[in-house]
Structure formats: structure tokens, C-alpha cells
């Protein structure tokens, strides 16, 4: 028998949605002078360790949650001062768009360049001060159900199990955390969220979800090149036609810039390597002008849920709610998900609190949430942007961009039709015979780097002797199917070098270096055979991102 603890609310994941929900719950409890127990479990070794985002943050939700956030010292210190938008035509040519033709959602006045990891660290402190119990280093590995099928809570993973499955000296059994309501805030493609979608059929009425892979680096640049508040966005080269995505470069505080590339995971070319695309991107003059002579400080990657409004699932089920990117609340037209994730958490907190106040014990589904959500600015905002992603995917960057300009700036998202994009990302991949290999340039170790030295900068570590947390449903598929058809694309889409095909006299072998994993979830999303399942490793493992 596992030990158990009881809470009013258990939240899985200390990201912006989970922490905003935790804070909002406690604020309401304080106002109503009601005792409330809220617990947050976080698989990262500390709050913020697994958080990676651009990030330009729209402070709307933060302002609602903590109207005094500036005085309280929230780490949003760099207001955006200038937006630049580029189309890269080749490895050295580009067009800079005049501000007038840029879709409105891409204007960033009033927003801040910040580290989402640091914002979460700050939100974590606020939550603890409000009385929330936060447990970093504990991974929610399992959903617990009542007999009637409603969610009862979660169990944390066992610790101290060897690779072969034997209990080590340090073995510690996982714990059951029971709650009246459980909020799942795992971020994009949460592994418990994935189970909930299936169990409660949450996505039966929405379009297919779409994903991107975001790669990001943090650089120390020389003071003479540093323009705090300057924001660059762009698309085009190095991604070839038919592959969606775009880059960002933000000048943040402390003489640092963040640079990154988002590659849509709907790409078709099996030879494509998002990591190598990102590395060669930095050689383009538009980016190189800032990075030359600078020093790379950190690296990381994370999948993004970008299907938007059309792909929003049902967010409620008996005993709980899905919030933030776990449900897909990111606004892709703005390429921003922090304010929407936080708002979804706050709405969930309000619904849960009113249910608890009315004596509900979780057995009933929180059907009131839908009304609350539909009446919110969050719903309105996502609805207005509903055509952005499908337009980019259907018409490409130029025509899609034009469409989005008309849709967002002239019609304000009120066009009387909705574009749909219903083919799932993993099914888009085509076979190798349709393409020729991409010849990526060798990294120069000044602007571009190899995968392993990059992963090194993410401070990723997992306890060495533990079961592999990347599960294959069928051990044979990587070699028998994926290798001949796609040259096993996991070798290339994984931004951390987790997957390798090793050839020796006895043939090809599929090797999984789980220790390198950045918890980005791309393999779980993009494997064409849907054969890889990402599960939580021992708590505390994974990247330790500083300032990301």
C-alpha cells in the first residue's frame, strides 16, 4: 500500500498556468477566510528548472492576478521598445517589413522581454507565501481514479529503481496525492494529459492539435551591440518551402540576447533536422550581427502546442481540469502562451473555488467552467486568432501572412469563416525516396555548435541507473519500419541526441540515450509510427535551465 495525503486541490506542474491557478485559489480562500490546502508537484529539480520560452510576455493576466506586480518585483524588466519583422530569402538576403504591413498580433508595445523560468520562480515564491505547498523534484507519474471513473488525484513516481527494475538502497515508494480537484498543468503534450484525452475523449469535437518545436539559446553579447527591448522576428530561410516556422531574437537585460527557432512539427521532409536548421540560421547576417564575438550561455528546447482555438479540447472532466498548454491555450498569432496559460489557470481556480464553496467534492464535472471560459477575454482572443495557424500552413508564409494581415488588422479576426487544418503532424512525414538528404554545414563552434555541446549547456542530468523513460510500444519498429522508410527521423528531430541508430556487424540497433533528454516531448509527437511514449523519469531529472 502506498502512503497517501489529502488536499483540496492538487496541481501537476509549476509552470505559469499551474502557479497562477495556485495563487488565485489561495487569494480567494484568504478573501473568504476559508481554509484551503493546495499542493503543486513539479518534476524539475526546482521551480523554473524545466521552463523554456522565448519569451515576450503580455502582462495582462499577471496584472489581474497581482495588480501590484511591479512593486512586488516580478521579473519583467525589459519593455519591448522596437519590433522588427524579416523575411529571410537566402543565407544572406532578407527583406525587412515596414511596420504598417505587420499583422497586429505581432506588435509588442506594452509587452516585456523576460525569462519565463524566472517569472515562474517568482510566481512560486508568491504561491508559497500564500500558503501553497510546492514540491519540486517530484514527478506526477500516474493518474488515480475513483471507482466511478472520476479523477481522484495523482501518484508521484517511485524513486531509487535501477535500470533493470530492481529496488536500490535509496528506493522510496511514490505517494498518492488525493484531491477534490486535480488540475493538470504539465505544459505541451503532458503525459498524464495524453491519458486524460483518451480516457475522457476530450478531443472528440475539435480539430487535430498542432505542434512546433522551439529551440532556444541564451547569449552574452558585447555591450556596444546590445539594444535592450529590441525584438526581431522572421521566417523563411533556412526552412524550405512547405516547412512552417520562424525565428526570434530578443535583446533582454544584462547584456544578453535570446535567439531561437520554432519549427512546425507538421514538416514533411524526413531529412529535416530542426537542431541543424537552428544552428545554420545563426549565420544569417540579420542574426550574426549581434551574435558575432558573443558567447553562448545556455541551450534548450521544448515543444509548443499551437493548434489554437480550433484545436481546443474539452477542458473539464469529473474530478479535474486541463489548463495552459496541456490543453493548448497558446495564441499562435501572437506567438505567446504565458498570459493565456495564466488566465486559463486563474479561470480554473475561480471555478474550482466556487465549486468547493458550494460543497462539491470533485465527483461532479465542473461544467460551469465552459461558461466562465467563453465569457473571458481569453476565449475572445483565441477565437480572433483562429485562422492564423491554418492560413500559414495552407498558404505558406507570404500568402498566409497576407491573409493574416487582412484577417487580423482589417477584419480583427471576425471573418465569417474558419480555416481548418485537420491532418495530424506525425502523419505529414513523407518517405526518404521523395527527398534528397539535406547537407547541413559543419558547426564552426563560434556561432553554430554540435548537439552534444549544446545539451551540455542545458545542465541536463538524470540519475544514471533508472529505467528508460522513453518507452517503445514495439521494440522493432525503429529498425524495421522507421529506418527504411524515414531513415529513423528520431535521430534528427530530437534536439538532444537521445536517439541513435548504431550499425555494427550484427546490423542496425536503435539506441536511446535517455540521460540527454530535455523533456521537450517532440518524439512523443512526431514519431510517424506513434511508437514512442514519453513518461516521467525519476523526479528532479531533466534540464536545469537558468534564466530560460
Amino acid at each position: 500500500m502506498r502512503e497517501s495525503m489529502e488536499f483540496d486541490v492538487v496541481i501537476v506542474g509549476a509552470g505559469p498556468s499551474g502557479l497562477a491557478a495556485a495563487c488565485r485559489l489561495m487569494q480567494q480562500a484568504k478573501e473568504a477566510e476559508r481554509e484551503l490546502t493546495v499542493c503543486v508537484v513539479e518534476k524539475g529539480s526546482e521551480v523554473g528548472a524545466h521552463i523554456l520560452s522565448g519569451a515576450i510576455i503580455e502582462p495582462r493576466a499577471l496584472e489581474e492576478l497581482f495588480p501590484d506586480w511591479k512593486k512586488m518585483g516580478a521579473p519583467l524588466n525589459t519593455p519591448v521598445t522596437e519590433d522588427q519583422l524579416f523575411m529571410l530569402q537566402s543565407d544572406n538576403k532578407s527583406i525587412k517589413f515596414p511596420n504598417l504591413v505587420v499583422p497586429k498580433t505581432m506588435h509588442n508595445q506594452g509587452n516585456y522581454i523576460a525569462s519565463l523560468g524566472n517569472l515562474c520562480r517568482w510566481l512560486g515564491e508568491q504561491a508559497e507565501q500564500l500558503g501553497v505547498e510546492i514540491f519540486p523534484g517530484f514527478a506526477a507519474s500516474e493518474i488515480l481514479y475513483h471507482e466511478d471513473g472520476s479523477v481522484k488525484g495523482i501518484a508521484t513516481g517511485d524513486m531509487g529503481i535501477s535500470e533493470s527494475g530492481v529496488e536500490k538502497d535509496s528506493y522510496m515508494q511514490g505517494m498518492e496525492l488525493h484531491a477534490k480537484y486535480t488540475l493538470f498543468a504539465e505544459g505541451c503534450r503532458g503525459h498524464l494529459g495524453k491519458e486524460l484525452y483518451q480516457k475522457f475523449d476530450l478531443d472528440k469535437d475539435n480539430d487535430a492539435q498542432h505542434y512546433g518545436l522551439g529551440l532556444k539559446e541564451l547569449w552574452d553579447i558585447t555591450p556596444d551591440k546590445h539594444q535592450p527591448g529590441l525584438v526581431l522576428h522572421g521566417s523563411g530561410w533556412p526552412l524550405s518551402k512547405g516547412t512552417g516556422g520562424g525565428f526570434f531574437l530578443y535583446h533582454t537585460e544584462n547584456c544578453q540576447v535570446v535567439v531561437g527557432l520554432i519549427v512546425d512539427l507538421s514538416y514533411e521532409n524526413p531529412y529535416l533536422s530542426p537542431f541543424d536548421e537552428f544552428q545554420r540560421l545563426k549565420h544569417h547576417p540579420v542574426l550574426k550581427q549581434y551574435l558575432e564575438g558573443a558567447k553562448r550561455v545556455s541551450y534548450g528546447a521544448r515543444a509548443i502546442t499551437k493548434g489554437g482555438f480550433n484545436a481546443l479540447p474539452k477542458m473539464t472532466f469529473s474530478g479535474g481540469l486541463l489548463i495552459g498548454c496541456n490543453s493548448g491555450t497558446l495564441n499562435f498569432a501572437k506567438i505567446k502562451g504565458t498570459h493565456t496559460a495564466m488566465k486559463s489557470g486563474m479561470l480554473a481556480a475561480e471555478e474550482v473555488f466556487s465549486a468547493l464553496n458550494n460543497g462539491c467534492n470533485g465527483a461532479k464535472e465542473l461544467t460551469g467552467f465552459e461558461t466562465r471560459f467563453k465569457d473571458s477575454w481569453l476565449y475572445e482572443e483565441l477565437k480572433q486568432s483562429r485562422n492564423f495557424g491554418p492560413a500559414m500552413h495552407k498558404f505558406g508564409a507570404i500568402l498566409g501572412g497576407t491573409f493574416n494581415f487582412i484577417d487580423q488588422n482589417i477584419c480583427k479576426g471576425r471573418l465569417p469563416f474558419t480555416l481548418r487544418d485537420n491532418k495530424v503532424d506525425y502523419a505529414q512525414l513523407k518517405v526518404i525516396s521523395d527527398y534528397s538528404p539535406i547537407d547541413y554545414p559543419k558547426p564552426d563552434s563560434k556561432l553554430s555548435f554540435d548537439k552534444l555541446s549544446s545539451v551540455f549547456l542545458s545542465n541536463t542530468n538524470h540519475e544514471e541507473d533508472q529505467p528508460c523513460h522513453l518507452k517503445l510500444k514495439d521494440q522493432a519498429i525503429p529498425i524495421t519500419q522507421n529506418l527504411p522508410k524515414y531513415l529513423e527521423p528520431a535521430q534528427r528531430y530530437c534536439p538532444a541526441g537521445v536517439y541513435e541508430v548504431i550499425e555494427d556487424e550484427s546490423g542496425a540497433h536503435f539506441q536511446i540515450n535517455g540521460q540527454n533528454c530535455l523533456h521537450c516531448k517532440t518524439c512523443d509527437i512526431k514519431d510517424p509510427a506513434q511508437n514512442i511514449t514519453w513518461v516521467t523519469p525519476e523526479g528532479g531529472g531533466g534540464p536545469n535551465y537558468p534564466n530560460m
Binding site: 495525503m5 529539480s45 526546482e46 525569462s115 514540491f135 517530484f138 535509496s170 545542465n459 537558468p546 534564466n547
Partner: protein, 249 residues
């Protein structure tokens, strides 16, 4: 018997330490910090001695800024009974640390003082030995085994070329090496309980110690990056290069 364990807050061993922009120190802004691994082993050993009935109380002490209370709480969650925090924002040198600890030892009168052999940030490996000298009590450093037999503590030490076992009168100081034990994980209920365990905060001034600096940090530099290697075609070429280019033979 009471055991005093010293713990230090250091940069997490998984984090790649980097030098700050003006080369004055290692950059610790928003960097993951953790309990020094050798100190964690010390805490574990003390708890095991308590669990086996040898010790009755485990007290942890840490010196540093307010944030090092996190590491005290971690130790309490692992099973220590109470904490002492000596708060200072400066990074006291080993001798200052030993002097502060000597005051704590005099006040607490523990039978055994278990410390990490060194902290993984500055890698000094001095404090244990200095404390033993200041208190004039025996020390067993680099311990891979600790046993209480009668009124003596038997410490197996990892020395060059083998193991050495010493028998020490108590009170004594033991500093831990990596092989002493494998620390446990803190459980959720214990983490919650740890928040309510007693923790006393003192300052160096309360203990009557003035922190003096005997050395000055001039600058911090990252090690030179390793140059890429080359492939040679023959043994002759290799020898030629070792002789004339590298000048090592």
C-alpha cells in the same frame, strides 16, 4: 549522543558553472543551488546512526545567506531534528567557518561532528581539519566507514593506496568521502514536517566572531578550451610532432 552536522549551500553539481561577465566570480544569478553532496552524505550518516540507536539527536548547522535555510530544511526533511543558521551575506573563508563552528560546538557539546570533506564550489578541504585543531579534538577525515565501538569511534579512511582505520576518542570530527553511503530521498510528508521543525538563526556577531578576510579574490577565469586534435598518418609523424611541435619527448 548528539551529532552535529555541517551543511553548505553550493551550486548544484549538475549545473555548468560559468564565470560572470566582469570575471569577478562565478555567475550564480538564478542558478540552481543545492546541498553540497559531501554534506548530504554527512547528514545521511548521522541519520543512520540515529536510526541504529547510537545517536539521540541530529543538529544541522549552515553558514551563509538567508537562502541556505533551504538546505537546512532539506536536511531536516531527510531526518535531522533541528537546525541552526548562522546568517551572513559574505562568503566566509574556511578559518572563519571553523571559528564559527567551534562556538557552535562549545554551545551544543555534540559527541560527534560529521562534515563533508570539502564543498564542491571552492574545493578547499580545510574546515574539518581546522575545526579539529581549534577544538583540539581528534579527526578522522575522508571516511568511508564510521562505527561506534565502545566509547570510541572507528573511522575507515580512504588514503592513497588503500584504507586506514583509526579509533578516535569522542568527541571527534569525521569528514565524509563519497563511498560512505548513498543518501536517501526526502519523502513528501517529511518535507512538509521539516517546515515545522525548529530552526534558530544567529549571526557571527551573536557568536562573538568577527569575520576576517585573509585572501582577496583577484579574478575568475574559465579554463582554456581544449584545442581540436589532429590525425597523424604514421608513428614516425607522431613521434616527430611530439618531439618538435609539442616538445614533450
Amino acid at each position: 549522543m548528539k551529532i552535529l552536522v555541517t551543511v553548505k549551500r553550493v551550486i548544484d553539481y549538475n549545473v555548468k558553472a560559468r564565470v560572470n561577465a566582469d570575471n569577478t566570480d562565478v555567475d550564480l544569478a538564478n542558478t540552481k543551488m543545492a546541498l553540497n553532496p559531501f554534506c548530504e552524505i554527512a547528514v545521511e550518516e548521522a541519520i543512520r546512526l540515529k536510526e541504529s540507536g547510537t545517536a539521540t539527536e541530529v543538529v544541522v548547522v549552515s553558514i551563509g545567506p538567508k537562502a541556505c535555510q533551504e538546505q537546512i530544511r532539506t536536511s531536516l526533511a531527510l531526518g535531522a531534528d533541528r537546525g541552526i543558521h548562522i546568517e551572513t551575506d559574505s562568503m566566509p573563508e574556511s578559518l572563519n567557518v571553523a571559528k564559527l563552528l567551534a562556538k557552535v560546538v562549545n554551545a551544543e557539546q555534540p559527541g560527534l561532528i560529521i562534515m563533508g570533506k570539502q564543498a564542491i564550489d571552492s574545493d578547499n578541504n580545510q574546515t574539518g581539519q581546522m575545526l579539529a585543531a581549534l577544538l583540539d579534538i581528534p579527526q578522522g577525515t575522508f571516511a568511508s566507514k564510521v562505527e561506534l565501538i565502545g566509547d570510541k569511534v572507528h573511522v575507515t579512511r580512504e588514503v592513497d593506496g588503500g584504507l586506514q582505520t583509526v579509533a578516535l576518542n569522542i568527541p571527534a570530527i569525521v569528514t565524509t568521502d563519497l563511498r560512505l553511503n548513498e543518501p536517501r530521498y526526502a519523502s513528501l510528508p517529511n518535507i512538509m514536517k521539516a517546515k515545522r521543525k525548529p530552526l534558530v538563526v544567529q549571526t557571527p556577531a551573536d557568536l562573538g566572531i568577527e569575520l576576517k578576510t585573509h585572501s582577496k579574490l583577484l579574478k575568475v577565469e574559465a579554463p582554456a578550451e581544449r584545442q581540436a586534435g589532429i590525425k597523424v598518418n604514421s608513428i614516425e609523424e607522431l613521434i616527430e610532432k611530439l618531439k618538435n611541435e609539442a616538445k614533450v619527448i
